[in-house]
Symmetry: D2
Subunit: 261 residues, 4 copies
Amino acid sequence: MCRFLAYSGRAIFLDTLLIAPNASLVRQSLAAREAKTVVNGDGCGVGWYGARPEPGLYKGILPAWSDANLASLCHQVEAGLFLAHVRSATSGEVTMANCHPFASGRHLFMHNGQIGGYESIRRSIEALIPDDLYHSRRGNSDSEAMFLAAMGGSMSQDPAGAIAAMLRTCRRIQQANGVAQPLRFTAILSDGKALHAFRWSSDDHPPSLYWCQLETGIAVASEPFGDTAQLWRPVAPGTHMVVIDGKVDCRDFEVFASLAA
Amino acid sequence: MCRFLAYSGRAIFLDTLLIAPNASLVRQSLAAREAKTVVNGDGCGVGWYGARPEPGLYKGILPAWSDANLASLCHQVEAGLFLAHVRSATSGEVTMANCHPFASGRHLFMHNGQIGGYESIRRSIEALIPDDLYHSRRGNSDSEAMFLAAMGGSMSQDPAGAIAAMLRTCRRIQQANGVAQPLRFTAILSDGKALHAFRWSSDDHPPSLYWCQLETGIAVASEPFGDTAQLWRPVAPGTHMVVIDGKVDCRDFEVFASLAA
Amino acid sequence: MCRFLAYSGRAIFLDTLLIAPNASLVRQSLAAREAKTVVNGDGCGVGWYGARPEPGLYKGILPAWSDANLASLCHQVEAGLFLAHVRSATSGEVTMANCHPFASGRHLFMHNGQIGGYESIRRSIEALIPDDLYHSRRGNSDSEAMFLAAMGGSMSQDPAGAIAAMLRTCRRIQQANGVAQPLRFTAILSDGKALHAFRWSSDDHPPSLYWCQLETGIAVASEPFGDTAQLWRPVAPGTHMVVIDGKVDCRDFEVFASLAA
Amino acid sequence: MCRFLAYSGRAIFLDTLLIAPNASLVRQSLAAREAKTVVNGDGCGVGWYGARPEPGLYKGILPAWSDANLASLCHQVEAGLFLAHVRSATSGEVTMANCHPFASGRHLFMHNGQIGGYESIRRSIEALIPDDLYHSRRGNSDSEAMFLAAMGGSMSQDPAGAIAAMLRTCRRIQQANGVAQPLRFTAILSDGKALHAFRWSSDDHPPSLYWCQLETGIAVASEPFGDTAQLWRPVAPGTHMVVIDGKVDCRDFEVFASLAA
């Protein structure tokens, strides 16, 4: 179970959200040291949109709580759109190549959940990655494979459609191979303009997702953090949430249309 | 609060104790992931005595649970005398230079506890390191400084005396600088023949220490692990325990003789 | 262009060959600092056979010249059969998962050379990896893919046949995709008993390979090292060399039988 | 022999100077792979001034040529004042704590050269670090010690005076301990407003230093890079160069006044 956070709004220093608040993302990894929660010590990453067309990307294999580069970067960099992730490895080793977020061109992606039975169907999942992106597959995690697979679809015009099509195919591969475990997918995607958040699972337990209206913008995260005064709202299972220009739009996210998964 | 383990006995594969048992050292770091205990994810290290006069030494900054080199090494190496440590940083950064055990010539040393107020008296503590060892100071932790300081004493003839003298001086430096926090010292020292274990604190809370007679030898550890059938005995506060040739000898360890600390 | 070394003979400390000699493997990486040769600073690895059925394996991403763990391990470990490698990345990033040697069960493998045009045909090369080994693909290098692909063949009974079949298929994939660059393959393979060395290329430039009768056994390496008194003999292109029980047997290694590549 | 670069001028993306040019700093480390020059593969670092009072700082232990975080950061971050360094270790191990630049409050510092005989006089050099900065000593290099020692002087009002006083004392410590090797000091210091460059040695061989008027500002570097059309001017030995507001001012830098070193 990883933890992540994304922000869209007025440009703020990254540490405003990632380090300073009570129960911030880095404190969520830290918290583990006092044994209050699960450890997310298998690396961390942050991606942000600045003056370049492509996002900036920092990844490290140390636990977030002891990564001095992460702390300095988050103290220094301001952005109006960023994604951050602390990892608890489920598939794929602890290497920088397996740290989220993943980048491809203008896009950033990070994921919480997993493809059940991935070890046994990894080859078929990787077969979904389009030829022109296959060389950019760096690690061996299910999350990176799902992202690159979706990038082969209609990502620019219809991100939710591209994600849904990818999930549909992944689910069918699970079923064709007799995998009983679920496909769980709570994820954030961005093209540098909009934030797309997804909360979906083939069973009834999609990983949690919340959002909050801050003074400067909108935060979306695995779990609430910061002042108790802030109102964090859960995102319902089966939702595609779009954050753009300070507005939040929640839509039904149907992977199998009206058919059962 | 770090965790450590030392073994003296017939040669066994290191993973017999370090990885295989229930609640083994590596599982103690892993356990944190299920939030059952405190995390020790700030690096790990193992030292062992083999065919060379100097011990072998492996240190890594990754959490023990995700260190493939550590797993392979412990699976492959057999030794009759070894020390292993998983770190939860209290002083000094997460770098290999701050990982235990520390080596100097034939000696290995690892420590659980801390010099209260170390940040403010570090210079005076480091002044205790003898000239001929000062260049071998690699990190910035209190533990390494204590070890090198003690190495300047009567380590070969009277290890307990050398350790006690070092602790006495450290305590006096604390007092001279108005440090209210205690000096806590639970530690293992070896010259490749004997294992010396110490449990001492300037207050009433020395970090825990246990020992156990296994089939193949004697284990000393921060906390019991393995089968419940095994009888782990606590080492009393104020003890210097010597393990050599399969025998355990516990003696009073007095840092301030009959004087109060 | 990587550099490697393998040894088969009486058990010796690894540093006897890897660190001590003039122009040893670690010095070959060091040498770069004096700019006498090409740098191999993209990680290192060593695999050795000990008391376990599987080999021990250590890999690091630091240059060999600054890896304290490598130095300590090589000083401490004795083995009668070992492989070591310093990397200069040609395909695949600098991560531990891309460091040689690669292990699968009892087998160790390391490679110098490359599949020309690998970036564009990677998917087809990876398709050669058998289902039951696909999950063990950790990195994204051509070398690891070739090893796992060959492991799916007749590796136990006919290692040279398994390697030749794999190379044949890789070459055909290159040709089918219009790749003009060559397939170069100088490699060492072991099952813990025999050392198999291969020197082959689809053009006339297979990476160099030498062997030498030492006092204690046979060394095979990318380039000669040690005393000038030692006689290093080049291994001819198109050769499969087997080292077992102190004997060296060189055979023709034909990938395309009597047909042209 | 390390290599470094500093820039003061209009805000530019860091990779404009650090990565893009012919013979850029990262290419200078890369160049080693073609064996054209000495390798600087023992880590790298970059510090820059942005919207915060303290500079941003990134350090890594991988060679600059394989550090993906460094590349992304330099592509993304714009600054009007920055310092960058690739290291070839002379004293102190390859750890992040020994990578340049070093930071203390608003100040950044990087150094090329060394205190001859440092291993034997390290304790005396470290004794120069003022009490209130001693806890911030992270590594074990001579460069960091010199910086912290100078920070205890008149750094805010008279940086050149503080540096000269520190060098004078270091040189006297060398002499008092019978060290025959020289004290070499080519360095860059900044408080976020001015760049101070120093080129000095106790013998006739201070490490090289050049500066160049670019279109956007002033670059100071260990060696020229970029278009041959650009005019790089050597900085004379015994010089203190100040770059501020687009102007370069070179002054005599006398460590021992009119007395011989």
